[in-house]
């Protein structure tokens, strides 16, 4: 059934059809309405779940981990400072192998206070062992929640999953969203059945100490699980497409990259806007395509290397800067392609920080700059590796 709903409402519907047994959350703009809608579903009886009201995001995550340990599916949602407050428990959820699914409304970190779209909050949690996916529209959030449970709860994975939706661009924007039938979701998503759970018939102690002679192997297994999730994601996306008719392609999605020499790359809603820019540039005769990075963790290493072998030049657009050294996605792509034997021309564009609006023309300007740089560089190295797009410097804009 198609409805015009906000990203937060779509999130609530996505959660509802996955039927988690425990939901623990603390409100923060612009995430708040997600849990309000879920609370409505629980109140009207359409979702049978225990809603745990907690005193902080740290407690919300702790409650989800504990509930997962009893062998049930859980959900939580947060944003920015709430996610930062969860940090310790994010490590715990991953290493305890509790596949919590969480939606984060990507919002800028303060100060100065800002409630608008920015990816620093989730990127800062890169190394906690969570699967991280970025969505470009409300339909994708809903669908990715369903796929995330399936991937995260697979016994080869058993890692938590973080889904990201841009503040306001998705959270509070109403779009037409198809809410899938419960029967279809039940067919796609099996029940959660962990090997180890709190059970008086088979008692275990959880979270015990491990000496240096074995800690290393536990960490290695998280790395292995993350690797395993790549193939399972590709499979889940395919199965989802067959069942629901919506194709999310895999860890990345390529748009109009056939015969493309130039690529614009990004995550989140700016990818959606960039599709219009690509269509216009194609109409104008430019050989340019788009790559959407859906999965930031695990990182699509193989896909990036394959891309590097075909492409002349890539503009990496990011709603975040990793203080001290370039944008995080730029660094990841550099790292991925370095040993591949291919050296596309890479340039980093910082854009849309703190909800600065990204328009179709902005994306086209990025491409035009990349084109100029690539053609001007005779050694294949950009004159300016980093571009703070639209930054107002001395003399104003």
């Amino acid at each position: 059934m198609k409805k015009v709903i906000t990203g937060n409402k779509a999130t609530a519907y996505g959660v509802k059809v996955c039927r988690p047994k425990v939901i623990a959350a603390y409100p923060i703009t612009p995430q708040t309405t997600i849990v309000e809608y879920i609370a409505d579903f629980i109140a009207d009886g359409s979702l049978e779940s225990k809603f745990v009201k907690v005193e902080s995001e740290h407690s919300a995550m702790a409650a989800c981990i504990a509930a997962q340990n009893t062998g049930v599916r859980t959900f939580t949602a947060t944003s920015a400072h709430g996610l930062a407050l969860m940090h310790e428990m994010l490590h715990w959820a991953a290493a305890a192998r509790t596949p919590v699914v969480m939606v984060n409304a990507n919002r800028a970190m303060g100060p100065p206070w800002s409630i608008w779209a920015d990816h620093l909050d989730s990127i800062s949690q890169r190394d906690t062992g969570w699967i991280q996916t970025y969505c470009e529209n409300s339909q994708e959030i809903l669908d990715t929640i369903i796929m995330s449970y399936k991937i995260a709860e697979n016994r080869k994975v058993m890692l938590p999953a973080l889904l990201n939706e841009d503040a306001f661009y998705l959270t509070h924007t109403a779009e037409a969203v198809d809410i899938p039938d419960q029967e279809l979701v039940d067919e796609f998503l099996p029940d959660f059945e962990p090997r180890y759970k709190i059970d008086t018939e088979e008692p275990f102690g959880f979270g015990s100490l491990v000496m240096p002679d074995n800690y290393y192997e536990f960490r290695y297994n998280i790395a292995r699980a993350m690797e395993a999730s790549k193939e399972l994601t590709r499979e889940a996306v395919q199965e989802f497409a067959e069942l629901f008719g919506r194709d999310y392609h895999g860890l990345i999605e390529e748009y109009r990259t056939d015969d493309a020499e130039f690529i614009l790359m990004g995550m989140g809603t700016l990818v959606s806007t960039a599709r219009d820019a690509i269509d216009e540039l194609r109409d104008e005769g430019h050989k340019v395509g788009l790559v959407k990075v859906r999965s930031f963790r695990p990182f699509p290493l193989e896909e990036m290397r394959d891309l590097a072998s075909r492409i002349k030049s890539i503009a990496i657009m990011e709603r975040v800067y990793a203080f001290g050294n370039r944008g995080p996605l730029f660094n990841e792509v550099c790292g991925a392609v370095y040993n591949s034997g291919h050296r596309p021309f890479l340039k980093n564009y910082i854009i849309g920080i703190g909800g600065r609006d990204v328009r179709v023309q902005d994306v086209k300007n990025v491409y035009l700059d990349l084109l100029k740089e690539t053609e001007g560089a005779d050694d294949g190295i950009p004159e300016e590796e980093l571009n703070w797009y639209g930054l107002v410097g001395p003399g104003g804009d």
Binding site: G205, S208, V210, D213, E217
Partner: protein
């Protein structure tokens, strides 16, 4: 002993409780109770942080569980009639 990454459990869990960890080996001094002096106030039982004072129900007397007693000496400190003394292990 190091187990391979294929042998260890998914998450660090244990199916053994802490009774297998006999902490009595940490002790250098051991509490010894003089049952003649004991007035059965049970202060030693109440204050022992390791539940290592056992009440012998038959004799109605306190006894030390040397498997787990770490030799902290709190029982000696709390005994109102000085019925417990610390003695060298060796």
């Amino acid at each position: 002993m190091t187990q391979s990454y294929d042998e260890i459990t998914l998450t660090p869990i244990t199916n053994r409780d802490s009774t297998v960890n006999k902490t009595g080996g940490w002790r250098t001094l051991r509490p010894v109770i003089d049952v003649e002096k004991c007035i059965k106030c049970w202060n030693c039982w109440k204050f022992c942080p390791d539940m290592s004072i056992i009440i012998n129900r038959g004799k109605e007397l306190p006894e030390v569980d040397y498997d787990y007693c770490k030799g902290c000496g709190i029982c000696v400190h709390e005994c109102p009639v000085d019925a417990i003394v610390m003695e060298k292990e060796v």
